[in-house]
Symmetry: C2
Subunit: 516 residues, 2 copies
């Protein structure tokens, strides 16, 4: 306490860091509260609550945005540059400062009032879609979707300098990825998948009659929950509810929720929705609790997220070893429906490849073709080369051209996915195909690294796989980017090789395939 | 548009009013979001979500409080004094300014940081209680309750000048009512109710074995919901879920939710919880939608609110005419349990008077004795004449003295009600007894005003009663105070006369009573 001690040249980092965290926690609290309101809106809210819910979501969104764009937060982030540079880049604190700055710089481009209007509009549009889809009434949501396209363009225009108007929107979900990158990837996949799908669908179709029987809802839900409990989904830190369009949401490290929808006349719909969403949830539940309540405490990108949902749904949940272990339990649950159905019939049925209409029910071979249609259409909407009023016809034409089938109505056509009706067009779909590719890449690396992963799956033990994924991917949250995670976990960048090899191997065992 | 037009002497009221409403809507959005998070916490939240939920509720509460205490809001309310004075006092706008000012002046007394801590502590304490009650573990919540008492004292002390430390806390729930008022009322009731209860419980008890059979949950819920649908509960603008301790909550005019708990071995618990909460909800659903999203858009006091829950639960739902109409349907729902039970037996069973342990299951005669115990104990805790560690014993002693029974454990003793464990001691219970008194007073006035109300109830038609209550009470929200509503609807102030007359008449038909 000498009177001559010099004033420190920079402010002490610890109080600044504490203030940064306090502010970021507040933003996270508001965003998490918004997530609770959104979950409720999609699960339990009575229809009379819709208007007020839109206003409430708009207020929370605007406040979160105001807090995130507070100039004082920018000053704190500037003042912490020296501290950040002195820390190891993948330390929690350096990562927090780096990612918070990225979020801050993105957020300050967009006015809070615009964010509030976007949230309000998104809630109203979503509510209208929940009514319009069952009623097959595209006209009821058309003006809302026109506004969504307009808002999405305005949102992109807050980030000038893009090569394609979708780039800023894709960047939010999959940082660093551009429309051109996605087009290149999709073209490469298309060249392989189209002949593969054609070769398979030219052969006699698998018989899936065993799945299209009456399966009572309660038993379906109980069986699905038993499966994901074995996956490691922690019901003390999460739950499952029913909704129109399944999704996963996170309110905290200790509260990660999934949703499903049950079709009593088709076992696939609810079962694989549950396995898919559980994959998302295992990722979120596996993030280090130290990161909870900060911008680091959630999944890093749409591509990595979908890699996990697709991995647990398909690479595990539609595999033969998985069902060799789990099928007897399913037969016990549904003895009348499946007691006399051999495993091979069931396995072929859940892997039936067909030219179908519904993305979320599509098989692994044609799934990406559904995604590509949506990706191309949203780009066209944003470019202005396609008008919303022409979208239903454009949808039908693309389905006819790419999949050889066309929906008889809009319900199973342009109204089938909630994404465009929740307030944004652009950046909503590329993650699914990125996820398929990344999921296969990670799964191959995992199995190569730990032989007990494959033997575990065959024995209904998923800890080895989940532990490897937690160690390599989950625990980091947003500390590492997609590219950094891939490099560390697989030793290389994104590659379609493992995914195409997986498809050829799996479907080569079921069908005669063209030479690869 | 003359250049010589004088500057108006005061600012135009309309833009000021619009700005006032914008600010009040924002506060309401935050409070409603908090209500959604609170509802979720009590219904569906997994235990792992508790800590983060507490933080989120604290953030929302602090932000709502900051917005409500913004000095700019105070300036707007000042600037609108002239406009308010020029309007009829019960116009929407004059009422809004008046009530908003009352809320503002109350809120500015309490620091936002204190409100946030109160919300955080309340959520943590509530969560601990949900575990401690089934475990019969008072010690687990004792330190939390000690802090609650301390915080409640601090809260009261932000309003100096009270005669009793509970007065500011009671005033929040029942404006204008003091501890002294409640004590006077309770003493008068006690003088009548104690001999009445003694006379009845000295006679042979009603046989309630018919209610203590196995009643499957799903059928109980369906029957209860059918009843309240007839009451007029609008399921398009509300819903019912299960919880530990039933409550009603409002997120908007179009989203008013009730909760119940089902005991498969006692038909009363769930059935009358549903009817009780439906009474609260009819009130909230009946408030003029014009007032939605403002401080006027909810019930005016705890006393009026409980008058509606008790009216629909007891004065209607435990009456003979009601069951003359509804009992055949109940028998059809539970033919094995009730097919051979005559209406008279059932009616006597649901109105069984006994010296019991659980307030929410208590009969109409002894119910207020349960309330008085709690009221006296919370006053003693606040005064400091009773320590929290001595509360379980004090509880048992009072039960022995007043009701002649004592709980064998704390689960059905001091842990039975959630109120003290949700963050406040003081002002939590007087409303229940005020509600009994007011409910009977309103019911008598309603029946005197419209003969079709009584004939309606006997025919299972509740529109006449609900319409009268909507016209006289519900639609006003907080525009009128308890005293103003009572004066308009009954022509006089609060009076115990109708309540005591009702009890004497109803129970005089079932038992031999002492002279009144």
């Amino acid at each position: 306490m000498s009177a001559t001690s010099p004033t420190p040249p920079v402010a002490e980092p610890q109080p600044l860091l504490a203030e940064l965290k306090r502010r970021l926690h507040e933003v996270d609290d508001l965003e998490s509260a918004g997530a609770v309101l959104g979950w409720d809106q999609s699960t339990y809210m009575p229809s009379g609550g819709a208007d007020a819910r839109g206003r409430q979501l708009a207020t929370l969104s605007a406040l979160a945005h105001q807090k995130l764009t507070d100039p004082e937060l920018g000053r704190l982030l500037d003042a912490l540059r020296g501290h950040e540079a002195a820390l190891p880049p993948d330390s929690d604190d350096a990562s927090l400062i780096r990612v918070a700055r990225r979020d801050y710089l993105r957020a300050v481009r967009v006015p809070s009032a615009f964010m509030a209007e976007l949230a309000r509009h998104g809630a109203a549009s979503f509510q209208a879609w929940t009514v319009a889809r069952p009623a097959d009434d595209f006209d009821a949501v058309r003006p809302l979707l026109e506004r969504t396209v307009d808002y999405s363009r305005q949102l992109a225009d807050f980030f000038p300098g893009y090569a394609h108007i979708a780039d800023p929107l894709i960047d939010v979900a999959d940082e660093g990825v551009t429309a051109a990158d996605v087009r290149t990837l999709f073209a490469a996949l298309r060249a392989e998948l189209v002949p593969l799908a054609r070769a398979i669908t030219d052969q006699p179709a698998a018989d899936d009659a065993c799945l299209r029987q009456h399966y009572p809802e309660a038993a379906q839900i109980a069986f699905g929950e038993a499966l994901i409990r074995r996956y490691g989904f922690d019901f003390e830190r999460g739950r499952q509810d029913k909704t129109h369009h399944p999704f996963t949401t996170r309110f905290a490290a200790g509260d990660v929720r999934i949703t499903t929808r049950i079709n009593e006349d088709d076992l696939r719909e609810g079962l694989f929705a549950t396995l898919h969403e559980a994959g998302h949830a295992l990722y979120e539940q596996g993030i280090s609790p130290r990161l909870d309540g900060t911008p680091l405490g959630r999944g890093t990108s749409s591509g990595i997220h979908e890699s996990q949902s697709r991995l647990w749904e398909n690479l595990v949940g539609r595999s033969l070893p998985f069902w060799e272990h789990s099928y007897p339990g399913l037969q016990q649950t549904f003895p009348e429906q499946l007691g006399a159905v051999p495993l091979d019939t069931f396995y072929r049925a859940v892997n039936k490849v067909e030219r179908s209409l519904i993305r979320v029910e599509a098989d692994e071979v044609t799934y990406n073709l559904h995604v590509m249609i949506r990706f191309d259409l949203e780009l066209a909407l944003l470019e202005g080369t396609l008008a919303v009023r022409d979208l239903p016809d454009a949808w039908r034409e693309r389905y006819r051209a790419d999949l050889g089938v066309a929906p008889p109505d809009d319900r199973d056509g342009v109204l089938q996915d909630m994404h465009w009706y929740a307030g944004q067009v652009g950046g909503m779909f590329q993650g699914y195909t990125l996820g398929n590719v990344i999921g296969a890449q990670l799964f191959a690396a995992a199995r190569a690294a730990r032989p007990e992963i494959a033997t575990g799956i065959a024995a209904g033990e998923f800890d080895p796989l989940r532990d490897w994924l937690t160690e390599q991917i989950y625990r980091y949250g947003r500390k590492l980017t997609t590219a950094e995670l891939l490099q560390r976990a697989t030793g290389g960048p994104l590659s379609t090789g493992p995914y195409l090899a997986y498809l050829r191997q799996k479907y080569g065992a079921l069908y005669t395939l063209p030479p690869g």
